[in-house]
Amino acid sequence: MSRRTVAWWFLLPSALVLGAVVAWPFVYNFWISLTDLGLYTIRDGAHFIGIQQYLRVFAEPDLYRYLLRTLVWTLLNVFFHVLIGVSIALILNRPLRGRSLYRALLILPWALPQYIAALSWRGMFNYEFGSINLLLAKLHFSPIPWLSTEVGAFAAALITNIWLGFPFMMVVALGGLQSIPREMYEAAEIDGAGAWWQLRKITLPLLRPVMMPAIVLGTIWTFNNLNVMWLVTNQGEPGDSSHILVTYVYKAAFNYYRYGYAAAFSVLIFLILLGLTWINYRQASRSTYGA
């Protein structure tokens, strides 16, 4: 077999699976977004109605609020994931006793299935009985109405998701730190450079190309994270005020059966994310190979 033939045979099975289970539904969803498919039309067949669903999406008064909230949600999450993940990785990269035990314990949130973690945190944010408010009371703070206010619910979901997501960044950072050659630090020490200088001039710049792909992926996953927001705020409570884009669409599709509308909304979400990722990705490619 020629090299080229081998390559194509290697790609084929993945392409088939992705084509059938991802690409085809994508096209089909686009078709649905141009119809009036809903609870009443799903039996008799939907009608083609052009871009009306898209017009409806753009006429949605809360669209920009949800979009803004999604952006803030993504930004804060990824920021704290990277900050906490990299900081812990830096500590664990020192010669400390028992560091593989620490590492194993700190990976725990990643291993725990998301829906279990989210429901447990929801219980902990309960106003009267949740352990967080009980703890605050012990420290003589007044209890916080986490789940019954817009800001509180957002903060609760944010804390939960930061907890869930930092181990991934930590692991990526640990891998990156191990790949930095020791000689660089030795050379810096001979030149009399302090710890802070080494961190800024050696560690962080060399960590950047390793972290960038993880950040691109993390941004995508957070932007589209349905589970955490949905479960912690119990479907957007209080009163549908705590939605991000994906939870709002999920509700429109599966609680209200507005399939055509949800399909159009999903396309819009995808396009926004595609734009964001493209910018991110370009920057990642540039930083990896030097501008």
Partner: protein
């Protein structure tokens, strides 16, 4: 002296972090020990005064826990094996061969991660219905494989990129063909990334809820997440049972993670944005 004080400080900080990390899990444990299925208690004690393991007995012997476990294990192992096979081959092609449109292909793979869940669920359901795969484990396995594949392909490709091409060339000179060089030389060297791919695909099947909810109808095909949810949503939520079930579900994956945490650090090379 100063360094010793310093490392004591780091240990204190790490212990605090570990406590914050495992507290929510302890909380689940605490609920699982409450005898009256009570979710709420104003006590901060982890082990309640009237602690009992009754809910574990109920989950293990009175609920169809083992059927859910069996289904989940079938689904997860099938997804993992399929995921490793597909990702290790396609990533190899993307890492080693000069293909036209390679970068668009890599970005295209990334693109599939950007579809919101709502975008694929209904079409996926209709597709599976046409193929007769609704309410079959094969249907969910295919869906999970496709979900996990992009990340796994990226990880594998990043790792292959770190293995020198010259090793394979040496193999080719020694009389191996392209397939042999891949199978005998590169694949064994990529073991850490294969472990990650396996773990990640396994988890994609083990912990997923929404697709399973959409595609599986019969109770005897329920996977663990669906089974647990049925505890939470029946007439009255059995909180202690739910918590006990959650822990029993989490233990195998947590164990797997702990066992493999060394490989995690070695194998997770997402690098290689460019080809």
């Amino acid at each position: 002296m100063r360094t010793r004080l310093c490392s004591l400080g780091w240990h204190l900080l790490l212990i605090l972090l570990v406590m914050a990390t495992i507290y929510p899990v302890l909380q689940i444990f605490s609920i699982s020990l409450r005898p009256s299925n009570a979710l709420y208690s104003t006590s901060l004690r982890i082990i309640p005064e009237d602690a009992s393991f009754e809910s574990y007995r109920v989950i293990l012997f009175e609920k169809p826990f083992w059927i859910w476990m069996r289904n989940s294990l079938i689904v997860s192992f099938a997804t993992a094996i399929l995921g490793v096979t597909l990702a290790s081959t396609s990533a190899y092609a993307l890492s080693r061969f000069e293909l036209r449109g390679k970068n668009p292909m890599l970005f295209g793979i990334l693109t599939t991660q950007m579809f919101p869940a709502t975008m694929l669920l209904l079409p996926l359901y209709l597709l599976m219905r046409n193929l007769g795969l609704v309410n079959t484990l094969l249907g969910v396995v295919l869906a999970y494989t496709a979900t996990a594949l992009p990340f796994c392909t990226w990880t594998m490709k990043g790792y292959y990129d770190t293995i020198p091409r010259s090793l394979e060339e040496a193999g080719l000179i020694d009389g191996l063909d392209e397939l042999g060089a891949f199978w005998r030389i590169t694949l064994p060297l990529a073991a850490p990334a294969l472990v990650i791919t396996f773990l990640f695909s396994f988890l994609a099947g083990y912990a997923e809820f929404i697709v399973a909810r959409t595609l599986l109808v019969s109770k005897d095909l329920y996977t663990l997440p669906l089974g647990l949810e049925s505890l939470a949503s029946t007439f009255q939520t059995e909180w202690a049972n739910y918590a006990a079930g959650s822990l029993l579900v989490a233990i195998p994956v947590v164990a797997l993670f702990l066992l493999l945490s060394r490989y995690l650090v070695e194998g997770l090379t997402l690098g290689g944005v460019k080809g």
